[in-house]
């Protein structure tokens, strides 16, 4: 396929070369070129419909030249050449808006050329002079004065010229006028205008209006060149923007006041296709960058709601959409471009103080953000050549964005009402999305390779004081590093620490005979330790982003429940391991949702209870004793112990609350299927939330605590280790082997005496500790260690929990506590039951980290197998 394409391009190129030196008298070459085109046409793959159509038009035009029917030889030839260039380019590049646009324009020009030729045929003796002149609005208006109303042909050509001019018109406002004029003219020509004379008058007026506003600089751009290359046309615009005294960029500024949109026909949006030859790294780069922009935009949007006057925030959001739009257009993601474009229009209205970023507008902007994120997601998950999934609400959202007011969006209402019936349909085209316009705006930037083009022009908007402001917003520069590289670096630093300590403990050094050497080694030791701190810190990222998500969640949930909630965050700069950040988001979402949905009361109730109408939800994070503590405080209704107990009893979780402390009662809410919410809403109340929360937090080796006072609020405290990579472990010895048992799994360890031990049927062993009977499992038996202690009274029993039951593991001795970095045992060895991983110990050897839950399961399986075997032995004996 690629091959065919290349050949076709070559053939087209040849034809073009032949034609470029064409003499109207030399029919030979025309025939030759025509034949070349025909072959090329046959070769073109089916998916290049556009190209084929263009080429067919080219052929027709060639034919016209051949038969001397062309209105003007020069322009016709130019049109053909332009079309050929466009075809070649779109064949050579992946489908993209630029080539599509070029093709379209080439076709229009060709068609016009052909039509003109045909018109000349019929009006053989009328010179086609005026056609050529109608290249600017000036020409049109002067031509109109001479024109008679009865001259349909003339009117039509004016109409045609206006359309061409409008395509090239950079100014939205003017383009609208021109398009309107063209419409009026069409009405006159088709005889639909009720009063032709009046209509004609309004046309001249419109054109004069448009003409009057037209800056001289923009005039050259309006020349309808055959297939003008946007690349060339666009830079001509930039200087104008740069020197413009008005702060805003010209095309952006002219955002029209809201006008009714063309008929609300539900448009069908075809999802974009990820081109087969798309540059994967480019696309993923785009996705990452866009995500970051969207995150920034979201926080800026939320900030805007509290201080709508902050220009810098509007600009942040605007810039985000603008950059995404530009990049998406460059990559050919039409739908995304479209959405970003419409969102941008909305934001530019906010920026121009036309509307306030509040209520419905804010929600609309946030919705656009979400949809764009969903689309980015789709791009990520899209296979090459596959269609990108469009979010279900895409069409509707575009509809609302196009005209928020007609959908009942304003700055205080919250819910979109049904779309209002549409009035005027004539205004539409100019207002609706146009690819040209976007290309015009963004192409210079994309081509120049600086997607921050918008930034440079937009930042001029504010007063100079803002510069100070901006600095505080600026981020420290950073580099993206692949996680596996980072992990490897941390590994290596760990090794360095071990190597260093081995050196420091070497007999030669320890003896203290070489003072110089000792000094040097201790100096190296300091450097190594600092390096270790640094490398551990590299994995850490602040909780800021996670907290930001919560801010959004609080806002949305509060709106849904009709509550007023103030969300406060504290210590969002607290750092935590990057793996944990993702893990903690989920439980936090549940908790925050619960706090707003169940915790905070409705405004009426709050007023009744004598509280402030606006509820408070506070999320705080801080370091405490080597842990990261995340605290969620609300001043809502608090937990009601009686209600919880009643619910727990009805769910058969407990029999009675006798002897249960308040804390134990609160912990009941973590039981699966528990929910005190009276009704199940789509926000919460299904009773899976807190169960999931507990499990997720425990999976991170964290703990969750609740304190609450009825009527005053609750505090949920989550304690997490700084990082998942480091395990707090107890080093135990079994025979000559050492193992690491995670400290969190050990409840207690003790040396039993003979009285505490008893055995069941000679095999199973039990230990009784403070009246509780627990099975004893010998680690050396399970792991087949030969030189271990056999007598439990000489060794140690470690109590570990296995779900609700507890059991004791026999080890020889505890060697001490150690923090270790968990690693896998390597692919070649697979999963070992009872072992969760390995760690490098202080002496450079590998220690295995035990998974106590698995060990207990293994031991139980073992004993039950033994018991069964024994029973069978017994029965066999009896049978004998």
């Amino acid at each position: 396929m690629q091959q065919v394409k290349r050949e076709t391009i070559l053939a087209l190129n040849q034809t073009r070369n032949q034609l470029s030196s064409l003499d109207p008298e030399n029919k030979e070459i025309i025939i030759h070129a025509g034949a070349g085109l025909e072959t090329a046409l046959e070769e073109i793959p089916a998916e290049f419909e556009d190209v084929s159509q263009t080429l067919i038009l080219c052929l027709q035009a060639l034919q016209a030249i051949y038969q001397d029917q062309a209105a003007d030889f020069e322009t016709a030839l130019k049109a053909i050449l332009g079309a050929l260039i466009a075809s070649e380019q779109s064949l050579g590049a992946p489908p993209n808006p630029i080539s599509e646009l070029m093709l379209k324009q080439a076709r229009t020009t060709l068609q016009k050329e052909l039509d003109r030729g045909a018109a000349d045929e019929t009006l053989a003796d009328e010179p086609p002079a005026f056609e050529v002149r109608l290249e600017s609005l000036d020409d049109v208006s002067s031509f109109l004065i001479q024109l008679e109303l009865s001259d349909k042909k003339g009117l039509e050509s004016v109409c045609e010229a206006l359309k061409t001019i409008s395509v090239d018109e950079p100014d939205k406002e003017k383009r609208k006028l021109i398009v309107k004029a063209a419409r009026e003219l069409t009405k006159i020509v088709t005889g639909k205008a009720p009063d032709a004379d009046a209509a004609f008058g309004s046309v001249s007026e419109l054109i004069d209006q448009a003409n009057g506003q037209m800056p001289i600089a923009a005039a050259p751009a309006a020349v309808p060149e055959p297939a003008p290359e946007p690349k060339i046309a666009a830079p001509a615009e930039t200087p104008v923007k740069a020197v413009a005294p008005v702060p805003e960029v010209a095309p952006l500024k002219a955002v029209p006041p809201p006008k009714p949109v063309e008929a609300e026909v539900p448009e069908v949006y075809e999802p974009d296709i990820l081109p087969v030859d798309a540059d994967a790294s480019l696309v993923s780069e785009f996705v990452i960058e866009s995500y970051e922009l969207m995150e920034a935009a979201e926080s800026a949007l939320l900030a805007l709601e509290t201080e709508p006057e902050n220009v810098e925030n509007v600009n942040t959001v605007f810039r985000a959409f603008h950059t995404v739009k530009g990049s998406a257009a460059y990559l050919g993601f039409k739908r995304m471009t479209e959405l970003a474009h419409h969102a941008e229009s909305l934001l530019s209205r906010i920026r121009d103080r036309e509307i306030r970023c509040a209520g419905g507008y804010a929600t609309l902007a946030l919705r656009s953000l979400d949809t764009l994120k969903a689309m980015l997601n789709a791009v990520e998950g899209c296979a090459v050549g596959g269609a990108m999934h469009l979010p279900g609400s895409f069409a509707e959202l575009i509809g609302v964005l196009k005209n928020p007011e007609s959908h009942g969006v304003n700055d205080d209402n919250e819910i979109f009402t049904a779309p209002a019936p549409q009035a005027d349909q004539t205004e539409a085209a100019a207002d609706s999305f146009s690819m040209d316009e976007i290309l015009e705006e963004v192409l210079p930037a994309v081509i120049a390779g600086k997607s921050d083009f918008a930034r440079s022009s937009l930042l001029n908007t504010g007063d100079p004081n803002e510069d100070v402001n901006k600095k505080s917003h600026s981020h420290d520069s950073s580099v993206r590093v692949r996680t596996d590289r980072l992990d490897r670096l941390i590994d290596m630093v760990g090794e360095l620490v071990i190597a260093q300590s081995m050196l420091a403990q070497d007999a030669t050094v320890v003896q203290g005979l070489h003072h110089d050497l000792s000094r040097k080694i201790s100096h190296a030791g300091k450097i190594v330790r600092e390096l270790q701190d640094l490398s551990m810190g590299m994995r850490m990222i602040p909780l800021k982003n996670t907290f930001q998500k919560m801010a959004r969640l609080v806002r949305d949930v509060a709106k849904k429940c009709g509550k007023q909630v103030e969300f406060i965050t504290e210590g969002e700069e607290t750092e935590i391991d990057r793996n944990m950040v993702d893990l903690i988001a989920d439980p936090l979402i549940h908790m925050v949702r619960n706090a707003v949905d169940h915790g905070i009361e409705t405004p009426d109730k709050r007023q009744g209870a004598g509280k402030l109408v606006t509820g408070k939800v506070k999320l705080a994070a801080y370091h405490a004793g080597g842990d990261v503590v995340v605290e969620l405080t609300d001043d809502g209704a608090g937990l009601d112990p009686e209600k919880i107990v009643a619910k727990a009893i009805s769910k058969n979780l407990i029999e009675s609350d006798k002897g249960m402390s308040e804390n134990e009662i609160f912990r009941l809410i973590f039981a699966p299927g528990f929910s005190t919410a009276e009704s199940v809403t789509d926000v919460s109340g299904r009773g899976v939330g807190m169960d999931v929360v507990r499990r997720n937090i425990e999976a991170m080796r964290g703990r969750i605590e609740i304190s609450s006072e009825k009527g005053k609020g609750s505090i949920f405290t989550v304690r997490l280790p700084l990082t998942l990579a480091i395990t707090d472990g107890m080093l135990v010895r079994v025979g000559s082997e050492r193992y690491i048992v995670p400290t969190v799994n050990i409840q207690l360890s003790f040396q039993p005496n003979q009285k505490m031990l008893s055995s069941v049927t000679g095999r199973g062993e039990l230990v009784s500790l403070r009246g509780e009977l627990m099975p004893v499992f010998r680690l050396h038996q399970l792991f087949d260690v030969r030189d271990a202690l056999e007598d439990p009274t000489e060794g140690l029993l470690m109590i570990v929990a296995d779900g609700r039951r507890r059991c004791a593991l026999l080890v020889d001795e505890l060697l001490g506590q150690q923090q270790v970095v968990t690693k896998t045992l390597g692919q070649g060895i697979g999963k070992i039951p009872g072992v969760s991983g390995g760690a490098i110990l202080g002496d450079g050897c590998v220690g295995l980290i035990l998974d106590t839950a698995e060990i207990v399961a293994l031991a139980r399986q073992n004993t039950s197998a033994h018991e069964r075997a024994e029973r069978r032995d017994d029965s066999q004996k009896q049978a004998a």
Partner: protein, 174 residues
Amino acid sequence: MNIETTATATKTDVKNHHGGKFLSFFLKQEEYGIEILKVQEIIGILPITRVPRTPEFVKGVINLRGKIIPVTDLRSKFGMEEREETTETCIIVVQTNGLEIGVIVDKVSEVLDITDKEIEDVPTFGTDVSTDYLLGIGNTNGRVRLLLDIERILTAQEVVQMQEITATSEAFAG
């Protein structure tokens, strides 16, 4: 792109009983060879941590500069008797298909070129190694080396492991 293709081509060539560079080593008196492309490095013997509940031939795991990798004893894999470590005992770190595994051998000998012509087909008996695991027999200047399909051996480990586990669970059940 081109380089990659050639690299894979070479690999497949080697697999198809073609010559190339081999690392030769000893187990007992027998000399073996493995493709040099699959050897990452050769290290002296390190303290090995035994991993419980693994097959006999899995010696355990070692700390290879901060990375934990498993170590296989080729002797026990091939059913030979165990031997005390000597100063010549080595671990050859093999890297293939994303697997990184240490292989304990008695002694590493040399790196040598073996041409296509010098590789003979595997005889059906006469070695400790099942012929399935051999690429061929290299015969250079009268010295015979058994060329191992190390990838196959390491994959076979998986198979053996499975059997062992089934065997143990059967033992429990029985």
